[in-house]
């Protein structure tokens, strides 16, 4: 819809908090930009993420800022969340967001996307799922994979911190083998679940494993994933956003940890289906990338 929905009623302007006024005056939307939105705007513009309540130096918060700054069409984007640290950020996003239960995010997103296609056949409405590794790989695995099997036109982002962080540091399916966490007091007994590979074999047209160490790379992947989901089918990005608290790092050490993992458990993996490959080439020609 039009970004006019963010216009403030003049009668109330004098009592509006500054961040709401900024959304109208200084935020970037697809409709008020000649060029593509992107991370370069972060320093000067109003972000569509308000100040959040995550820990100082949290890589997940960084990654979310990159993701939101690179949404191709935020005014028509719906974000579906799950329970966890991400659910502490979603209310600060100035878009329509949904949190309903822990693990059902891809099912809720499927319903929303299908109805938006039915109600607004001539408008592109992007539906983006944003959930942690517990929500994606463990409790919500069924619903995540089933949405891939059904070829739902949604983008799924997993903020993989390899642990249940919000509940106090328990082992998850995404934890590395051998790692000691709560509920795995003698070390995890099985390998990290390769969710990006499951996404590929389950029908995703685009599946990436990466860290959030390079903002531009995150922005590019998000943009590509959303464009492909719009036209072709499900896409998946697994992003390492370490929980510095649970692995004993300081606020300034998250970036270094992500860089280290760029060569290890999160070394670059990228699957693009032939159909999606051709579509991306077309998007480049049209200046959408």
């Amino acid at each position: 819809m039009s970004i006019d929905k963010y216009k403030i009623n003049p009668e109330f302007r004098d009592i509006m908090p500054q961040e709401i006024i900024d959304l109208e005056e200084k935020a970037t939307w697809a409709q008020n930009q000649d060029k593509l939105r992107g991370i370069k705007e972060l320093p000067e513009t109003k972000e569509i993420l308000e100040e959040h309540s995550l820990c100082a130096g949290c890589p997940e918060a960084m990654a979310l800022r990159y993701v939101l700054s690179s949404l191709p069409n935020p005014e028509d984007t719906i974000i579906v969340n799950s329970t966890g640290c991400t659910s502490l950020m979603f209310p600060h996003i100035a878009l329509h967001t949904v949190h309903s239960l822990f693990g059902n995010q891809n099912a809720v997103a499927s319903g929303i996307k299908r109805v938006l296609e039915w109600r607004f056949p001539d408008t592109v409405k992007d539906v983006v799922v944003l959930a942690g590794d517990g929500a994606t790989v463990d409790i919500g695995l069924d619903y995540t994979l089933q949405s891939f099997f059904r070829q739902e036109k949604i983008t799924t982002l997993c903020f993989d911190n390899e642990v249940y962080a919000n509940t106090g540091g328990q082992e998850s399916g995404a934890t590395a083998k051998g790692q000691v966490f709560k509920m795995a007091p003698t070390g995890k007994k099985f390998e990290k679940v390769p969710m990006w590979e499951l996404a590929t074999t389950s029908g995703c047209h685009y599946s990436v494993n990466m860290t959030a160490s390079a903002p531009k790379a995150v922005a590019k992947a998000v943009r590509e994933a959303i464009l492909i989901a719009r036209e072709i089918g499900p896409t998946f990005i697994n992003i390492y956003t370490p929980c510095i608290l649970e692995i004993g790092l300081s606020a300034n050490e998250g970036l270094g940890e992500m860089k280290d993992q760029d060569k290890d458990r999160f070394k670059s993996y990228k699957h693009v289906s032939p159909e999606a490959e051709a579509f991306l080439a077309k998007c480049k020609e049209e200046g959408l990338l």
């Binding site: 100035a94 319903g111 109805v115 109600r119 056949p121």
Partner: protein, 400 residues
């Protein structure tokens, strides 16, 4: 398949003329048909301009779910698919309803419990989806027989719960259910219950209006919360949820939200009164000292017992509850005036309706409540069983 944009001011996307609920339920001429509960639900959905449905197989509701799928293929329902299991389906239904769709789904027995976490979430979203529950009881041991134990688990989810006795009532009730649940001052999900097999699979005579008329579409912009479609500014609740804070105001907000859901269910009373023609229907002798309080098929069996008892010179009446949430307290008290003994026949082991009746009437009425007769696991409830229970009270010490 249809396109929503095919809709005009006077006709929906499948070309049916748009009419009011009053016209569809009370004024349109009807003709006689002979069909099962599953088939009649298809006929109801066909006349309701339904945007979305998500299905999953489980006995005995599968056929109803197939038939809604056929309506989609025929262009009457906007979008439809089979979900992965009932938990997924109820989440998909939530997504559909939150995105502004008139949405219906069906389930039975164990599926209800698998989906359970969703139902409290549904009412918290204040979205007006309809669940048609064809009750079958729950495991274990494995059962697929008629039994309505699962209703016990739905009582405190914050959803409205209506109970239809037969095929005709299922048709009329499921249409009224959309209308009442979508009223802006109500706007909570609704469960329309029927007894599995006894209603879903039994062919009965039923009066239906023509199928070239249908309800006006759902208007999501009249909802108390904005639909999740990026067409309106994000609500403040989206940006400031209660979980974010640990202070008294956040607790009070959460508590008041939950009270408000229950108040919304209470506000449905006058609408239910109108569209269901009363929250309870009473039949039999007005001055009877013996009454049956029942819903669904149990009410039907109670009516049979009432006729037999009448022949034996024992006057009784049947008070059929049509809404369970909201619970028709005032109507029940009025109907019990002068009644000495009230029996609550039920198709489940726990006696959830007896419990509801007892705790609602506690201290307000002198009628003795007899919690039974009760059958379960697929057993039928012959009129004789009910009569025997009554005669043990009437003819105390002498047997039936």
């Amino acid at each position: 398949m249809s396109k929503r944009s095919d809709m005009t001011k006077t006709h929906n996307w499948s070309g049916q003329k748009l009419v009011s609920t009053d016209h569809l339920l009370f004024e349109a001429p009807r003709t006689k048909h002979f069909m099962t509960g599953s088939e009649v639900l298809k006929e109801a959905v066909k006349r309701c301009t339904v945007d979305a449905s998500v299905s999953y197989p489980i006995t005995p509701q599968s056929e109803a779910a197939h038939l809604i799928g056929e309506l989609w293929a025929e262009g009457y329902v906007g979008t439809y698919f089979r979900g992965e299991n009932e938990f997924g389906v109820m989440s998909e239904v939530a997504g559909c309803a939150m995105a502004g769709a008139r949405t219906i789904t069906t389930t039975s027995g164990p599926g209800t419990l698998r989906a359970m976490e969703n139902f409290a979430m549904w009412s918290g979203t204040r979205a007006p989806m309809q669940l048609v529950l064809m009750a079958r009881g729950i495991n274990s041991p494995l059962t697929i027989q008629p039994d309505n134990l699962e209703v016990q688990y739905l009582l405190e989810t914050g959803m409205m719960i209506w109970y239809a006795e037969n095929v005709q009532e299922l048709f009329d009730m499921s249409i009224a259910a959309f209308t009442v649940s979508e009223k802006p001052d109500v706007h909570v999900p609704i469960v329309t219950v029927v007894d599995g097999f006894f209603v879903s699979h039994t062919r009965e005579a039923v009066m239906l209006p023509e199928d070239d008329i249908a309800l006006h579409p759902y208007d999501p912009y009249a909802a108390p919360l904005p639909p999740i479609d990026s067409e309106m500014p994000p609500g403040r609740f989206l940006r400031d949820p209660f979980v974010m804070k640990s202070n008294y105001i956040s607790y009070a907000t959460h508590a008041s939200w939950q009270w408000e859901v229950r108040s919304a269910v209470e506000r449905s009373r006058p609408y239910a009164e109108h569209y269901l023609k009363g929250l309870v229907h009473t039949s039999g002798s007005e001055d009877a000292e013996i009454a049956f309080i029942a819903c669904g098929t149990a009410a039907n069996q109670a009516k049979e017992a009432q006729r037999e008892l009448n022949k034996m010179g024992v006057k009784t009446k049947v008070i059929k509850l049509r809404t369970i949430r909201p619970f028709p307290e005032k109507e029940l008290l009025a109907a019990l005036e002068g009644v000495k003994h009230a029996f609550v026949p039920e198709f489940n082991v726990v006696g959830w309706l007896s419990n509801e009746v007892k705790h609602t009437l506690y201290g307000k009425c002198d009628t003795e409540i007899v919690c039974g007769p009760r059958v379960a696991g697929g057993m039928s409830m012959p009129a004789e069983a009910i009569i025997q229970e009554v005669m043990e009270i009437v003819n105390a010490g002498k047997g039936a």
